[in-house]
Symmetry: C3
Subunit: 348 residues, 3 copies
């Protein structure tokens, strides 16, 4: 529960209506009711306001709307996120090391830590203040987890990997599994030991069942603020730049270095040993097989400028027709050639 | 062990031979032997019957075959499944709350429940009659699991998600992980709290390591009877219709609504905020980027009618050849044009 | 720590310099320093040797380089792997059945076994000598694990599956989940019991969160020495040949048989009921929809010879241009035809 005036202040927006209005929750525009605030991020949904029964509305600057109570701000979506955080999220009270968990005597635990049942904390692990390990998390020996990080149930972090502060890892993600490295030895393969680590910097989020492999030698690094979705594969020795966003089921192959503030659409794939510049955006399913300069929007496999891909993809379904037309054209040109050649002979 | 007559009755088929024949197992047509029943679902395998040593055979209606013992029915594959269930599957006896599991005192457990070692049942969880939690399942606070549902080892269900009756979840699936939602805040991203839930209706099956994200607000819903394979990604606020089948490694993006009785082939992908009608079939690797009317069979990326895709895909490998032919044709036409233009000049 | 002479002997290479030189570690060519050995597998990096501060270098036979200490051998990458194994990997001492694990009294454990906390070993399980189960591994009833195999945290092996000797399974992999089999029964689907098993032969490695489904009837088999990366899907009744390599996020559909020594690039997909010959190499994202003869390098979807695919893929982005050129050409040919037809009429 919060007052509308306080919420406007929280998001740095301009108040419309009574600052004392009590807001108790957040809801989508078509479902919000008494005591609830909603948001309009895109002016194209303005017409939905007619039926809206929300107590207050967050509007983007510059939109004219007959609203009795609300907040006007530059980024309604961000404001919505901040208000939802305030109203709906509360960090649970610390519960300490709970019965049924296994914490090595050599581990170092900060203040206000929670270790749920079934979690296993290995030798010499260091947990910062306020760390929460949900049930059945496994931290191998030598793992470090920074303050206020939250590891959901079933997460596994292998030996010596380091996780920063304020990191969130969704259930069953695997941090520090062996990289996929084998040296051919005749018909068979010899395993290359993977003795490096994974370093996850502050403010990163990792999705459910995502896999971040440890380096062969050295470090696989996920830069500060990066967001990685479910079932993503990050191979050994990859470096992901700060604030880069990687959507579900993407795969990044070994030793590739991705810049800052890139975005990879779902199911995209990147080959190994590449350098991807900053601010590169790859569409869903994009396939990257070469180095990429910064500041590009690309799609397709192999990737090309996004607009070019859209045109090419549209044309793809016409291929059989084009082939037929091409063949007909060849016949017609041949006829013309024969006709002219016949004329030549006649006229000689 | 069952008598052939009883099996014929079970599947609503017509008996051939001795109703008292004892059947002890089911095996593939080329491996079945004494006491075993096999099935022929496709008449094209009729010639395999010659070498078949099975005690009895399930045949489709209308197929003429010199079989001494068997069952004739409309759907031999379904009959095979039902007979296999009878002969090979037995629900284990309930074992109660086993040593080494952690069940909150505030949880409510039905009759005949089994909670294996290492499983963690949170506060206010409700388990219906006959629920089985294999080892190391984690149910966060407020989860509800309907009667006779079976959760395999390592499954995680996060807070307040609701699972129906007779649901099967394969190992390490993650239900209710946070949706992937972040609001840009300058260079960095601000996490949008994911305070909705997942609702899985009755008779659903979810594959190993599949991830079904909770809604931002509201519900991510998997409709009654839907079947979801391993490593599938279902994003926040998605709705999957009843009896829809989603094969391995498919990804469905946020807020998309899929109709009833659809089928998605392996590795297909669907963009967000789309509506897919009932009875839509998407081929393996299909990429859906727009709304889809019901009753279609589509393939390709972006999807097109399946037959058209097959032709276009066949033509794709001819592209370099086509380009060369096109270029040659341009030269030939240019020559013709020059020839005619020269003639024009001469004749003037 | 090892002497250079001993390392040369280990890898069957020719020694350069002092055999008594002490080597304490392995590092990449641009980071190696005092006491460290590095390797040069590709002569194109020869120029890096100028700045290299390594104590010794592993060189490929036939490369001329002014090196004071090192080893010359045919396969420097393999030599690197063997030396790294010697210097950096030590099998931990056996710890027995640790507190907080749950081992059925009917299980049979070999010598020198380690079962970490949170692991659950079912009825009649057999663990060979030297097996290590990291925390929270679950072995259902009847599972067999061969000597010296290593199962990382959170791995689940379902009932009656058999794992060979010297197998490594990365965290959270799922072995023996139900195959995805359902018989249509009108609008709904009837579950086909999956009563077969998975057999994993010796020397296999399975990646994190990979899923290998049990057979409907019979066996899903992973051949000796095969290497399977993270998040790979192997469906029911698949057979993978010896020493085949399957990179991350590949999916192999039901009942397909893959030969020996094949390689599948990342995110490739294979349809069901196919036979793939030995020594087939499928590029990243390749889509296999038909049987394949042995000894081929293929890419694309559907797959074609790799070189042909590269050319076709390059041409794809030119499609809109080609279509325009084709259309222009049609107009030009039509004009020529009309011109000639007009001449015909005039000359008659």
């Amino acid at each position: 529960m919060a007052k509308l005036g306080a919420l406007a202040e929280l998001v740095g927006g301009e108040l419309i209506g009574d600052p004392a209005l009590e807001i108790k929750g957040v809801a989508p525009i078509d479902r919000a009711g008494d005591g609830e605030i909603t948001f309009l991020s895109n002016p194209k949904y303005l017409k939905k306001l007619g039926d809206c029964r929300a107590a207050a509305i967050i509007l983007p600057t510059g939109v004219e709307a007959p609203v009795a109570a609300g907040i006007v701000c530059r980024n309604p979506y961000l404001a919505f996120a901040k208000i939802l955080t305030l109203l709906a999220c509360r960090r649970p009270e610390a519960k300490g090391v709970m019965a049924g968990s296994y914490v090595s005597p050599s581990a170092t635990l900060g203040k206000g830590v929670t270790v749920h049942p079934g979690s296993v904390v290995g030798e010499n692990v260091i947990l910062g203040d306020g760390v929460i390990l949900h049930p059945n998390v496994v931290l191998y020996d030598g793992v470090v987890v920074g303050a206020d990080s939250l590891l959901h149930a079933g997460v596994v972090v292998r030996e010596n990997c380091r996780i920063g502060r304020n990191v969130i890892i969704q259930p069953s993600a695997v941090i520090g599994g062996d990289g996929f490295g084998f040296a051919p030895d005749g018909e068979a393969y010899y395993k290359i030991p993977q003795v490096g680590v994974v370093v996850i910097e502050d403010d990163v989020e990792i999705g459910a069942a995502a896999c971040i492999d440890r380096a062969t030698l050295g470090v696989t690094r996920i830069g500060k603020g990066a967001k990685i979705d479910n079932l993503v594969q990050i191979a050994h020795n990859v470096v992901i730049g700060e604030n880069t966003v990687i959507v579900s089921q993407v795969g990044i192959s070994g030793s590739t270095e991705v810049g800052r503030h890139c975005t990879f659409g779902g199911q995209a794939g990147v080959a190994g040993h590449l350098k991807i510049g900053d601010n590169v955006m790859i569409g869903a399913r994009g396939g990257v097989s070469g180095h990429l300069a910064p500041n590009q929007i690309l799609s397709g496999a192999p990737v090309m400028p996004h607009r070019q891909f859209l045109k090419a993809a549209m044309t793809f379904s016409k291929l059989p027709e084009m082939r037929k037309e091409l063949s007909q054209l060849q016949s017609r040109v041949q006829e013309l050639e024969q006709l002219l050649s016949a004329k030549e002979s006649t006229s000689q």
